[in-house]
Symmetry: C2
Amino acid sequence: MDAVEAANSGHPGMPMGMADAATALFTRHLKYDPADPHWPDRDRFVLSAGHGSMLLYALLHLTGYERPTIDDIKCFRQLGSPCAGHPENYELAGVEATTGPLGQGLAMAVGMAIAVRHLNAIYGDDLVDHRTFVIAGDGCLMEGINHEAVGLAGHLKLGRLIVMWDDNRITIDGSTDLSRNEDVLARYAAGGWHTVECDGLDAGKVSRALDEAVADERPTLIRCKTIIGYGAPNKQGTAATHGAALGKDEVEAARKELGWDYPPFEIPTDVAKGWHAAGQRGSVDRAEWHRRLDASKKKTEFLARIAGKIDDRWLKPHVDALIAKPPTVATRKASEMALEAINAAIPATIGGSADLTGSNNTKTKNQEPLTAENYAGRYIYYGIREFGMAAAMNGMALHGGVVPYGGTFLIFSDYCRPAIRLSALQNARVIYVMTHDSIGLGEDGPTHQPIEQLQSLRAMPQLEVYRPADAVETAECWAAALETDGPSVLALSRQNLAPVRTKASARNLCARGAYRLRKAAATRKVILIATGSEVEIALAVGDKLEAQGIGADIVSMPSTERFDAQDADYREDILPDVSNTKILRVSIEAGTTFGWERYTGLHGLRIGIDRFGASAPAADLYEKFGLTPDAIAPRVVALLTKRKML
Amino acid sequence: MDAVEAANSGHPGMPMGMADAATALFTRHLKYDPADPHWPDRDRFVLSAGHGSMLLYALLHLTGYERPTIDDIKCFRQLGSPCAGHPENYELAGVEATTGPLGQGLAMAVGMAIAVRHLNAIYGDDLVDHRTFVIAGDGCLMEGINHEAVGLAGHLKLGRLIVMWDDNRITIDGSTDLSRNEDVLARYAAGGWHTVECDGLDAGKVSRALDEAVADERPTLIRCKTIIGYGAPNKQGTAATHGAALGKDEVEAARKELGWDYPPFEIPTDVAKGWHAAGQRGSVDRAEWHRRLDASKKKTEFLARIAGKIDDRWLKPHVDALIAKPPTVATRKASEMALEAINAAIPATIGGSADLTGSNNTKTKNQEPLTAENYAGRYIYYGIREFGMAAAMNGMALHGGVVPYGGTFLIFSDYCRPAIRLSALQNARVIYVMTHDSIGLGEDGPTHQPIEQLQSLRAMPQLEVYRPADAVETAECWAAALETDGPSVLALSRQNLAPVRTKASARNLCARGAYRLRKAAATRKVILIATGSEVEIALAVGDKLEAQGIGADIVSMPSTERFDAQDADYREDILPDVSNTKILRVSIEAGTTFGWERYTGLHGLRIGIDRFGASAPAADLYEKFGLTPDAIAPRVVALLTKRKML
């Protein structure tokens, strides 16, 4: 209340209403040790109702985490303070997930709960024996993604997932009656969850509910009946306490109501001591866990898993084999071939698909399904839940010890988008296998054909998008994605592609983002820049130009972000900064041309599709949209002629 | 089965499994008249499981719609055929909505059902008395959006919405047991729905279930127990029938199994006659409806509403008043001011917000809530359901007679994105009021600060994005959005903005996308291009440059799409195509610089934010990210100096 007042910005209502429930959780149930916030066997706590961030900052401070300090808290929501408006995992240890976009905290917790069961199945109770707790609000429970999360958790019987619902009957617009008449508990029960109700303002009763939840084998939803802004006598129970400071007078009145005589940011010694003691509960557990770890034969392996180390020795033999016998395959198939090598070499990977396993080619031969009966499995049938899959993968990556990848069609990156953004913001190593990456998917038509998706994803900070052109590039892109801390999207073709990389290379060329695939034979007048399935088209266009004595470099650009990150010399070598009357740059990508000016310049030529697609066989569509060598080469020649460059 | 076979592509399983249920619906219950597919009082049918498009094409053909012809059907999924892979409303009358992205058909149907209740409340049973029927599959029911749709429909007690669930227990990956253990009916019941079960392979039983559904006051989910690919003796009941042709042998076997002796695409006369008669059931209803319409005093008004005519006479007096007394307000507030005039002038508008009413400023003084008790209301509390809101608005726009607009934060355009894409693809006049459009929202931090959203939306075909700079521009952008057939996004500031448009203009300048707000005083060396809240910053940068004798045009660019659509002369006048050593172009927008090369050229200067934001007061963030006149002007001067342009 005081921190929000100092910032004159923030959300006091939820922290005040859930203070007792959170106290029960953090002082009696949650397993953690502020002295080692990253202790692998800690319980995970996710504040899905992220706007109540001050609650979490208060808890971390009181229980003895190094940060936030009381000064950090005084600077709540100010530049440089780790106490940001919404909790960010990269700002503070103890913040397990970045939350605020509603519903996603809960859905990430499902992923954490999956990771626990999986690692427990491999390493046993001695090393992995923790739970995931969530505080969620009415917003989280109205968002569609909670349905997907409920479905996944219920199906996988994630008994160690416990969600505390802050049932305060208030949303920003007013009473929940304005927009909801649902029996929430019945809905969760219909999804296979255990449900409990309690007075959320009574820590003792919350504690008993938590005991019940822990005892049950199903995931649990605890309905904590609370009052938003509890303790603010004139505003509690109203939307006025949700997202604004209470104001001086009401803060004063709340102090009286709650019998709290201390000035802002002063914590009486006995209170501080009590909390600190609660925060030290876990130190014994942690010491015992370390003894068990030291005694375990799997210690080294376990620690490497948790550290997220990735072996890339699979790459060279795999690429060598492809060079030896270049296959003509769709890059989705090439991805499966790479995954056969990756999944054999890297035990941490957990694959899956949102019900497109056979289309995304995400399942390799030896992967068993991860099910409620076999948590050791390494393949998840996520169901038709793209967003839920993406959020769960975020949770798995944040938990650590596993490297999740999951498939859907590239078009449905739109369904996953809010979670992809959280992958990026949180630097979560999640690999999105997005197949059917253009009109090349053919007959399914415009609802399924990505046009703007590639560029929209490339516009996102901290996300790397790869669009490989053949099997070798696909392998290199997989290697680049695995070695990155943050998330990657692999955009893969449905249709078969001829091999374009037929010579061995000492280094991972795709990791540089773009490279000269073929040098101009005649005097260079043109640079053709293409990605993915259009690289073989660019090569054919180049053939036609060279046949007319027009030299054309062919640049394959699987990742614009990676290329932008190269040093100036490299970039200048690939795309020299010369007048457009000397060299014409042409981009070819079967998607929107929006943004390609970055590589062609204003006076370059951008070949793409600036409208929605159509339903027809792929070859007919490439023809219709002018994406054939026969259509492109004359356009290049015409422009060169017009510019008097020939 | 034969059309899929001919195309060797498509989804036979659902059409075969749901053929009996659809027959019951189209021959006994659905009110329509193929002679006038746009008859306003027809029932709406939405095939939410859009991959089963062949079912719908067959129904339209058999019941006597002009298209598709049997030849259209023979060309299923081929270039130029209206029988696209997924049903598209712009290809065929009788296709009420474009579906395929799962769950959205159902959610659009909710919007249609809202529109019916609303128009019925205004025009009475005589003119508006129809229902909305949906066929949905397991995919639709796993997708998160169905939770939002269920919640909205249950809350608003949309009794005239009837969803037939094709319960075939099969998804692409195999049995639904692979990914779901939910009691679907219990979940719908928890949301306030009526539920019924029936044998979906028995048209009589389906018909009785439909009667029950019609009789109940709640929205209804009918569980139709079916067998996917019903009739294909060796493949039915398996995922093999879902998304691929059955193959010659199995088609042959199915013919035997079903006792169907006719060759592909031949319809026996008696069958054709029977279906045609069923298709003519509605002609009597339609004739009676026309008699009632002719007798109605509201005939002219009603027809104008349905035709979607929009009055723009509100604009001039509103802008005149703003010019007379220019307000310093946030553009979200300016939007509310415009809406006061719009909602008074245009009775068709229905506003709403996904639980951010007071932040989006979407509710005007005289708007009453649209509730189950008052369907005549014109404001919807959508709850925390951004995607559900967007899809419902699509349904409302497709239904016609209403012009929906709805608010959320711009960052949550990511949550709505799949529905925004369907707005664009379907050319649905939906207006998205997206406030808090940059780091200018301040303390809520990076989870809430749009960075890539503006450019990601601009990359989408057939969508117009507006980012006005002050109250006058906001009014002009609203007018442009209302006059457009398709969807628009209004990106609006949280923070107050000084007026930049202080002189009257004879025409809507924003409708041209970009215009010269201020002409250079000194010799023009620079063109500063800015949008929204950054236009006043550009003006201040211009002041600083002019003070140093450097002439700078200030171009306000509220809509890049609109500007791109202007004729070459106009574009050349605003952004002359001269060497970058003559004029330096500078873009200023508080978002990603990705894509701004289109307007600055490669050698221009792009001022923006190419990383995620931070939590702090807005002014501190503008300072931190170098988005102040003091930070920008020296960068411009330095570049001019380096280029020897001074």
